[in-house]
């Protein structure tokens, strides 16, 4: 992992289109500003990870649950 030190109002560039700026530092909380092309999706890691986990969990299905599902017509 590349490690860089930055102060408030300093930034880093990732490639030539993504800028990450330190907006404020308050105790253990850092506020970041991100400038990136619209097609770059930006998520808090825990959001994306929670979706990955939920997808994994949703594969855990017993045959009997599917049979119950088959009976659930509208």
């Amino acid at each position: 992992m590349l490690v860089l030190s930055r102060k408030k109002d300093e930034s880093i560039m990732i490639g030539d289109q993504i800028e990450l700026k330190i907006l404020s530092i308050d105790g253990d909380q850092v506020k970041l500003g991100i400038v990136a092309p619209k097609n770059i999706k930006i998520y808090r890691s825990e959001v994306y990870e929670s979706i990955q986990k939920q997808n994994q969990e949703s594969l855990n299905v017993s045959k009997s649950l599917i049979e119950q599902l088959l009976k659930k017509n509208l």
């Binding site: 097609n39 929670s50 986990k53 594969l59 599917i66 599902l69 088959l70």
Partner: protein
């Protein structure tokens, strides 16, 4: 062609029914080819089955039947990725996490599965504002 499915045994599908998830789904980034297999006529549920991997089969539900006012914005980039101009050819599903008993099951409203059913292009969209819709929306207590 015939494929092995997680819940329905061997199923015959047509090549043109195959839906491409260019980037897979979160946690399953390498699995890009799926088909939708209906469970039964009039069932609000269906199976999203990987064409190549038998054990990868998600249960889907139509979210609007459970949350009538479910709505979200699609960005221009999402529309471009799905090659849609309006909502005309767009199908929206939620992945269901089934639990025993059935009433403990939940729908993932935070990351809907969007399908351009005409061009067979799809993606699981992670809604940016994660507070709007929950990852685990209870089926029980909804209108079902």
């Amino acid at each position: 062609m015939n494929i092995e499915t997680k819940f329905l045994g061997e199923v015959t599908i047509e090549e043109k029914e195959i839906i491409q998830f260019q980037n897979g789904l979160p946690g399953f980034e390498d699995i890009t080819e799926f088909v939708i297999l209906p469970l039964e006529i009039d069932s609000p549920f269906a199976i999203l089955q990987s064409v190549k991997q038998r054990e990868i089969g998600f249960v889907l539900a139509l979210p609007f039947l459970f949350k009538k006012d479910y709505a979200f914005e699609l960005s221009d980039e999402d529309k471009e990725e799905l090659k849609i101009k309006s909502s005309e050819n767009l199908l929206t599903y939620s992945i269901v996490t089934l639990k025993e008993p059935f009433s403990n099951s939940t729908l993932n409203l935070q990351a809907p599965v969007l399908i351009n059913h005409k061009l067979k292009i799809a993606k699981q969209l992670v809604l940016q504002d994660s507070n709007t819709y929950p990852l685990r929306f209870p089926i029980e207590g909804s209108n079902f």
